[in-house]
């Protein structure tokens, strides 16, 4: 056992524990907090694997952006514990069924997992050698040469999803009063202030 193994067991234990807490926490905000904790520990496991780029991206994307949105939504909820527990027994059988189905599928999948013998021979030699590159560079080289069309397709799908979400939720409201920045910038003191000489004791 090496020193890094200790950290592997620490991180993986914490991922599993916080994963359990995500589904069992009563308060949804706490659940999201445990989800964030799970992400950070998963990033730690990536670091141990030497995949530092993935580790950092996991934190930036999932913790820095996705989980913030989760928190935004969850914090807006008006949490009523009694109401949340009302349908518990009704939904329990369906939930348990789905859980067992997924578990069975996973067991079947990993039980039947076989690596083709002699696969290492088939594998093409890396050019340039992976060990000589940093993680980021190696990923970039593959992503922007061999997989560039897939990469761009993913980008376009995300863009479409974003535009779709905006179009679906955006309601044009003619009565809303909007700021016209150009008007505001173009405004000069002369347009809004008139300086008059007023005689003392008279008023305008």
């Amino acid at each position: 056992m090496e020193g890094t193994d200790l950290f592997f067991y620490l991180f993986s234990a914490l991922v599993i524990l916080s994963g359990l807490m995500v589904v069992s926490a009563r308060n949804p905000v706490h659940a999201v907090m445990f989800l964030i904790f799970a992400f950070i520990n998963a990033a730690g496991i990536f670091l141990l694997l030497g995949a530092e780029f993935l580790a950092m991206t996991l934190v930036i994307v999932y913790v820095g952006a996705v989980a913030v949105l989760f928190l935004f939504v969850v914090m807006m909820l008006d949490i009523d514990f009694a109401e949340m527990r009302a349908g518990y027994m009704k939904y329990f059988p369906i939930g348990a069924l789905i859980g067992f189905a997924v578990l069975a599928e996973l067991i079947a999948l990993f039980g039947a997992w076989k690596t083709k013998s002699g696969l290492n021979v088939v594998k093409a030699p890396m050019d340039p050698e992976l060990a000589a590159l940093t993680n980021t560079e190696a990923l970039g080289r593959v992503l922007f040469t061999e997989y560039v069309f897939y990469f761009e397709a993913v980008g376009i799908i995300l863009l479409t999803a974003m535009i779709g979400a905006i179009i679906l939720t955006h309601r044009k409201n003619d009565r809303a009063r909007r700021q016209n920045i150009a008007d505001q910038v173009a405004r000069t003191p002369e347009m809004s202030i008139e300086i008059r000489k007023v005689e003392t004791g008279k008023g305008i």
Binding site: G3, V29, H30, V59, I60, V68, L71, F72, M75, I181
Partner: protein, 362 residues
Amino acid sequence: MIDFFWSSIWPWIIWTPVLKTIQSLAILVPLLIMVAYIIYADRKIWAAVQLRRGPNVVGPWGLLQSFADMAKFLFKEPIIPSGSNKVLFLLAPLITAFVTLAVWAVVPVGAGWPADEGTSWVVANINVGILYVLAISSLEVYGIIIGGWASNSKYPFLSALRSAGQMISYEVSIGFVIVTVLLCVGSLNLTDIVMAQKSGLADWLGVPWLTVLNWFWLPLFPMFIVFFISALAETNRPPFDLPEAESELVAGFMVEYSSSLYMLFMLGEYLAITFMCAIITILFLGGWLPPMDVWFLNWVPGVIWFLLKVWVVFFMFAMVKAFVPRYRYDQLMRLGWKVFLPLSLFMVVAVASVLHFFDMAP
């Protein structure tokens, strides 16, 4: 098993933490003392602009004011609102302070020895340094949202949402500005980013001794300004201090906080400001490199140059606070999404094209 423990794990498990602790203390203790004087400088500069004296009672010229404030905060009673979520309420300032301290692990503050080997004074010289910075700074928003929510009061909560929206908006343009710098460097390592500014524009202009022109502030000029303004917004500094607009909103998401918890928030805020000054120094002002290739300037240690540059950038932060009026929230959002985002996106494409077609990519 015991032999194995002594031979392999023992040195690793003892020496790495000890070494890293010493290195971390070597950067954090001077940093915290510097932050105390950054706060003092902030107040003094602001006072000087408004023809006031500023803090001048505690110690000679008020130099001990920040320490007196700290003692005051520590000895006050921390009040935890009865309706608050106690764990998260206590956790929020801790997250803010922890995150803003942790990000300093990758900041190179001085030249290594020997100077040209790509080494530097830094706790962790990791090759994804700038990603680490982005990852850790993206955690800063949690201190704010959690603090606002856990207070169980609508004013901190609304203010936390505003603040979070502001921070997320400006992180986008900050990210793109960093990408333009990275395109010119070809590495994510902060030490490499500084080293890449050793040569460049000054050589082409035929004045190789004027190394100040090599730094990225000039070749990437609009990005320097965009980054500076985004840094102001990202750290909730005036003119973008909407979440805590002192004259209107008391203290924003920190309304329910008092004593040492409030101090941790304030410490985190000023640490983040100092960090932004440091990252501007590294990305655009050549880190620890001297401004001119003259023997007596080269002789000055790199740390001194680094600190001088950080202080100059902070002086700009303080001056902006003193004489720029506060933005409205819609103006802030417009600036971030409709001005900076397109501009920085365009610059990413432009810089990449120039580097590619003139064959200058590193």
